[in-house]
């Protein structure tokens, strides 16, 4: 069951918001994504054409102190 789950579209072709866990669907090759639930912005890296991964915050919108993230 774990294998089927990990292979499903639930896991591929989207990332989860690293802060709130919201599922964030992506278009192929999309470079950044905004989480509508918590407001975080993420830089996306594509391991291969079907496999996106969050790389880091978008630096220009990152608020380490007192903002929406911290």
């Amino acid at each position: 069951m774990a294998q089927e789950y990990a292979r499903s579209k639930e896991v591929y072709q989207r990332v989860r918001c690293m802060l709130c866990g919201e599922k964030l669907p992506l278009d192929q090759g999309q470079k950044e994504v905004h989480c509508s639930k918590c407001g975080a912005d993420w830089v996306i890296s594509w391991i291969n054409p079907d496999l996106p991964m969050v790389l880091r915050h978008v630096i220009s919108t990152y608020k380490p102190d007192g903002g929406r993230i911290f």
Binding site: Q3, Y5, R7, M18, L51, M53, R56
Partner: protein, 626 residues
């Protein structure tokens, strides 16, 4: 059949024994039989640095066979760093070669009268003079042995200057960065004046059912290559956990004072390493994942420096923990630790601790022999490994661990800021944001350790049905829930014990991803190799037996419940991040610990009961059969 070799460095006597199938099946090889051997060969209460301590080098049961990623070597002994059970696991290619030379385990006792190395080849063991190697670093030592033996295919474990000078957190090394890092086993090797172990084997390793082994291995490899984690690991190596751990609050900066590492954003990043420093990827023996990097620094103060690694904890330890946002100095410090033979984690924890003492004004340049210990100080980070290995200046103060350092600094209050667990090992996995993970790590027999008990699936947002399918019981998917987590930790610990006994890399298991190996996949390979027809329940019980044998060793040393508790400072709620204020509440942790002990069949002190020992056929140990 592989053998156990017993080597006494004092008398220079070598003997061998076959491994009875019954005992092999009860413990498997690697970490399993190593636990049995340590319990049988090391008496209660001995000084870890004495000749009576044993250094046990073990190859996994499946190491060397035609199956993916079974190349891990396990090294075991009473720890010079903590004084309790010590073991560490190292990748590379030593383990299969030891099997090809005819041995699965080496039990090394005594102390040589001069620097020595072991030369093991096709059933022969020679004790050779290493006087000409003493004083060289781990890279040079391996090169010189290859030259001396005129064979670049010789596989080597060795120590650097840190091990020679008995630094308590010295480690055993291979290649440029492979390390049996934790618990100071390089110090144990140095205490025996054993500089290196070199091995070359050309013997065959017949499987009971080669056709089945080939079919199973191919099927599992084909499956594994298609998994998400395989594809990420093959490109990012072991840097990917940085992204996940940083955002989930498992990365701490400035000696665990702050969650996250905001000042490293944009510099201490995975893509910065890949773009600027990585040269290529490579793999351990028989692994298709090739998750290891070779790197080179091309410009700046450290230009020309080359090395292997890094893994995410270089970013976490030599980056965040010490307040350093720059890759070049983290790589330089890593390379120095590799060269001199120091455990990078303990090094990072010690430096972070000293930097917090500096921040708080507890120490100043009068205590540090002039070294500046402001957060992220580049010169200090790069220079200190050499000073520790040579026991010079500040290096001499911390070379024997934090307790001695507190005495030498004459600052008793400094002890309050050192993060470690009840068994004495410095903190590795953060303890506050999860439940099964701190339980699994803190109850580890070598001390708080992610490689013994981290439950990564706790924070993967997996559906309850998937969790139940994996763990065989309902698991609460909330990472902060306390219920059901004792079973999650127990199951995980037994899996890791079996994995280490077989010689398998944990990155091919549920350590890394829910769709990689649990008990079923290694069991298929094991049965094809041995012809045993072992059941999953029996394999699970092997894991339980290994865990209990290690426990017995610690119980005999007087370690009880206090050994499974964290230091008070490590449970303090930390500010910041989405889990602001969450802590490992002592009363709830204690209740979870009770449940965990009950699941294992242990008493309130965490010691195996007579009934448990009888059920696991451990009631006659130490039996001294092997």
């Amino acid at each position: 059949m592989s053998q156990i070799a017993y080597i006494d460095l004092t008398t220079k006597k070598v003997s061998t024994k076959d491994i009875p199938e019954q005992i092999h099946r009860m413990f498997l090889g690697g970490r399993g039989l190593a636990a049995y051997l340590l319990y049988n060969h090391v008496e209660k209460g001995i000084n870890p640095m004495s000749p009576q301590n044993a250094l046990i080098v073990s190859s996994g049961t499946l190491s060397g066979y035609f199956a993916t990623a079974y190349g891990r070597t396990h090294i075991t002994g009473k720890s010079p760093l903590t004084g309790v059970y010590g073991d560490s696991n190292i990748g590379g290619d030593f383990s299969p070669e030891l099997k090809y030379a005819g041995f699965q385990h080496l039990v090394i006792k005594g102390k040589a009268d001069k620097p020595t190395y072991l030369w093991i080849h096709d059933g022969q063991i020679e004790i050779k003079d290493a006087s000409g190697l003493w004083g060289f670093d781990t890279f040079e030592t391996q090169s010189r042995i290859w030259e001396e033996l005129e064979d670049p295919d010789v596989k080597i474990l060795c120590i650097g200057q840190a091990g020679e000078r008995l630094v308590r957190f010295a480690c055993v090394r291979s290649w440029l960065k492979r390390a049996a890092g934790r618990t100071g086993l390089g110090c144990l090797m140095g205490s025996k004046q054993l500089k290196a172990i070199a091995v070359r084997g050309t013997k065959g390793l017949p499987a009971k059912d080669p056709g089945k082994l080939l079919e199973v291995s191919k099927r599992q490899l084909d499956y594994g290559r298609k998994t998400k984690i395989f594809q990420i690991m093959a490109k990012w190596g072991l840097l990917w956990p940085w992204v996940v751990n940083r955002e989930r609050g498992f990365v701490r900066s400035r000696n665990h004072q702050i969650i996250g590492f905001p000042e490293g954003l944009g510099t201490m990043e995975v893509d910065v390493f890949l773009d600027k420093y990585q040269e290529r990827m490579f793999a351990c023996h028989g692994c298709a994942m090739h998750c290891q990097h070779r790197w080179e620094i091309k410009e700046g103060h450290f230009a020309g420096l080359k090395g292997e690694g890094p893994e995410w904890f270089i970013m976490a330890g030599l980056g965040a923990l010490v307040g350093n946002p720059y890759w070049d100095v983290a790589l330089a410090a890593e390379e120095a630790c590799n060269k001199y033979g120091l455990d990078v984690w303990t090094y990072a924890n010690n430096v972070a601790w000293l930097m917090e003492l500096w921040q708080r004004g507890i120490i100043d340049s009068n205590n540090t022999y002039g070294l500046n210990l402001e957060w992220g100080n580049r010169e200090t980070l790069a220079k200190l490994p050499a000073l520790i290995a040579r026991r010079e200046g500040l290096g001499a103060i911390i070379a024997d661990g934090p307790d001695e350092a507190v005495k030498r600094l004459r600052k008793p209050e400094a002890a309050l800021y050192y993060h470690r667990c009840g068994k004495g090992l410095d903190l590795e996995a953060p303890l506050t944001q999860q439940r099964a993970t701190p339980l699994g790590c803190l109850t580890s027999n070598r001390g708080n350790d992610h490689l013994r008990g981290i439950c990564n699936m706790e924070h993967m947002n997996l559906p309850p049905a998937v969790l139940e399918n994996i763990f065989g019981r309902p698991i609460n998917p909330d990472p902060l829930a306390w219920d059901t987590k004792a079973w999650m930790a127990t199951w995980t610990q037994y899996l890791y014990a079996v994995v280490d006994a077989l010689g398998l890399c944990k990155f091919w298991t549920k350590f890394a991803a829910p769709d990689l190996w649990g008990f079923d996949e290694p069991l298929e390979v094991l049965n094809a190799v041995t012809g045993w027809d072992m059941s999953k329940d029996e394999l699970f019980e092997v894991g339980e037996r290994i865990w209990n044998t290690e426990r017995l060793f610690n119980a005999r040393e007087g370690i009880g419940r206090e050994g499974d508790l964290p230091s008070p400072i490590s449970t303090v709620p930390i500010r910041g991040g989405r889990l602001d204020g969450v802590s490992l509440e002592p009363d709830k942790y204690s209740k979870m610990l009770d449940e965990y002990y009950e699941l294992h069949g242990w008493d309130w002190e965490g010691r195996p009961t007579p009934d448990t020992l009888k059920r696991l056929n451990l009631d006659k140990e130490p039996s001294h059969i092997l």
